[in-house]
């Protein structure tokens, strides 16, 4: 059995006599040690879903099994005990302003009843781990956003959780700080083997650290799979929109098609090793065509890379078709843009 399994999980809210299906019949499996991304637009039900994992919300229907335990049935003391083994990280950090960095990290240890000396030692270790040495007695008000989130991460790790729930953990941070925090989370995942469930509305965050991704839309998981797979072959409209956030926007392609009318406008997609091979120069040498690059980008993902290139091919119709066929044979995604 998978580490985490959701079966037909739904959560409804009743508000002003209206039913809201915040989470709607979701099935998911998450493996131990995985970094699992959940992506979706605002109101898709991501936060509600993640809150089901530690019982902050109770499902209206369905089963949530974590490590063999059906957590939707936990109540009171048992639920509180279970929560101590699940760390949670928040968009707005949610640190206690009245406590110093060290005291904030001590809080979950106090709640878990860890002995004083042991918890102080643990807090100091954690401060080291998240790279905040020397900030032990600083109050959160004096920290930058990135530093605050580091405290949040240390606090979430205090009781050696097996699962880390991250709800928009980087959405309040600038790009560079986001990268730093993501690196820290990836490191935590590698070193401690913590399973991370990561919510975001930014695809590049998923691309950076997640292995699996689920795409949510109005309460449903509409797409689910390996990040590379979902990136390359998005099926649902929402997913395509998310992927485009990252790659070249569709609107741009249409604009180009007006500007480059001489030859054929082609969008090529590369994956993994292909991105590093000199396929384009081979094509130019092999066939009687000219090629000019209009736009391109390559994105590094967790284990592979993913690139898109928009080129204009000029030459005889037959020769162009043969060149494109060659590219397809090499396993490259080829999309010819029709002129308007």
């Amino acid at each position: 059995m998978a580490f985490i399994e959701l079966k037909q999980v739904s959560k409804q809210f009743i508000q002003k006599n209206q039913r809201i299906d915040a989470v709607n019949q979701v099935d998911l499996t998450i493996q131990k040690g995985e970094i699992f991304g959940i992506v979706g637009y605002s109101g898709a039900g991501k936060s509600t879903l993640i809150r089901l994992f530690n019982g902050l919300e109770k499902p209206t229907a369905g089963k949530i099994t974590i490590n063999g335990e059906e957590i939707q049935q936990l109540k009171g003391k048992e639920l509180r005990k279970f929560r101590k083994k699940v760390g949670m990280i928040f968009q707005h950090f949610n640190l206690l302003w009245s406590r110093t960095v060290e005291e904030n990290i001590l809080l979950p240890l106090e709640l878990a009843g860890v002995a004083k000396e042991e918890r102080e030692e643990r807090a100091k270790e954690l401060i080291q781990l998240v790279g905040l040495s020397g900030k032990n007695n600083t109050y959160p008000a004096q920290l930058s956003g990135g530093q605050k989130q580091r405290v949040g991460i240390a606090r979430a790790l205090a009781n050696q959780p097996e699962i880390l729930l991250v709800d928009e953990g980087t959405s309040a941070l600038d790009p560079q700080t986001t990268d730093e925090v993501l690196e820290l989370l990836a490191e935590v995942n590698q070193r401690l083997g913590v399973t991370i469930i990561f919510i975001t509305h930014e695809m590049h965050v998923i691309r950076k650290i997640c292995q699996k991704v689920a795409v949510m839309e109005s309460g449903k998981v509409v797409e689910f799979g390996e990040v590379t797979e979902v990136f390359e072959h998005p099926k649902q409209a929402v997913t395509k929109r998310f992927v485009q956030q990252e790659t070249i926007p569709e609107a741009n392609l249409a604009d180009f098609s007006d500007q480059y009318t001489e030859g054929k406008l082609v969008k090529l997609t590369f994956r993994g090793d292909q991105a590093r091979q000199p396929i384009l120069s081979q094509v130019i040498r092999k066939f009687q065509i000219d090629m000019s690059v209009i736009q391109g980008q390559i994105q590094a993902m967790r284990e592979t890379s993913f690139g898109t290139l928009i080129v204009e091919i000029i030459g005889e119709e037959k020769e162009m078709d043969r060149a494109l066929l060659f590219l397809v044979e090499q396993g490259i995604g080829v999309e010819v843009v029709d002129h308007a």
């Binding site: 530690n54 902050l56 639920l79 509180r80 005990k81 279970f82 929560r83 101590k84 699940v86 949670m88 928040f90 707005h92 949610n94 640190l95 206690l96 302003w97 009245s98 406590r99 809080l107 979950p108 106090e110 709640l111 878990a112 109050y139 008000a141 606090r155 009781n159 729930l165």
Partner: protein, 229 residues
Amino acid sequence: MHKGNFKEMYLNTEQLDLGKFKVATSETLYMTVVSMLFVIIIGLILGLLLYNLGKSKRIGAKIFYNLLSIISNICRSVPFIILIILLIPFTKALMGTFLGAKAAIPSLVISAAPFYGRLVEMAFREVDHGVLEAANSMGANKWELVTKVLIPESLPALISGVTVTVITMIGFTAMAGAIGAGGLGGLAYQEGFMRNRPTITLFATICVLVIVFMVQWLGDWAVKKTDKR
């Protein structure tokens, strides 16, 4: 009124009896401090109750909340001087007498505790709900939520609430003094007004003001000290 007259009336230091002032000041402080201890405890409990009931969606809680609100509003709204008179039988039964500094305490507590309770409720409501959610996600129980999050995170507001309440209560002790509770209010009324010695009234007023300013200053200092935001 010419100058000499004013000086004779208000700065006639021969009328001042240091011993009496010392006693009156200590009576005022006694009434304030002892009542305040009760007010803080009852106010915190009341505030917590109001806060929890106010958040609950159950109908029973809503009814109870409104009931508590009405009662505490009544206690706050009855003019203090009338409250004392109304409570004379109760005070007599509780304290054995309705005269003296001690006898003023029940009325002071009853009028100020609901006032402070409201301030406590407001202070708790100001606590960031994200922080409460974080504590919940760590498996905190209700009691830990109150002692480790709610109170520490609202401490500056709780303290400034105490300051405001104490100052109001010092005003009330002066009123209580007029009907036999003693203290600086009693001194100003019995010795100053009834015996036509305005100097005593003036100096008793100055003493009250000094106490109020000191409380205000102390309160502000404590708020600054605890507020790390």
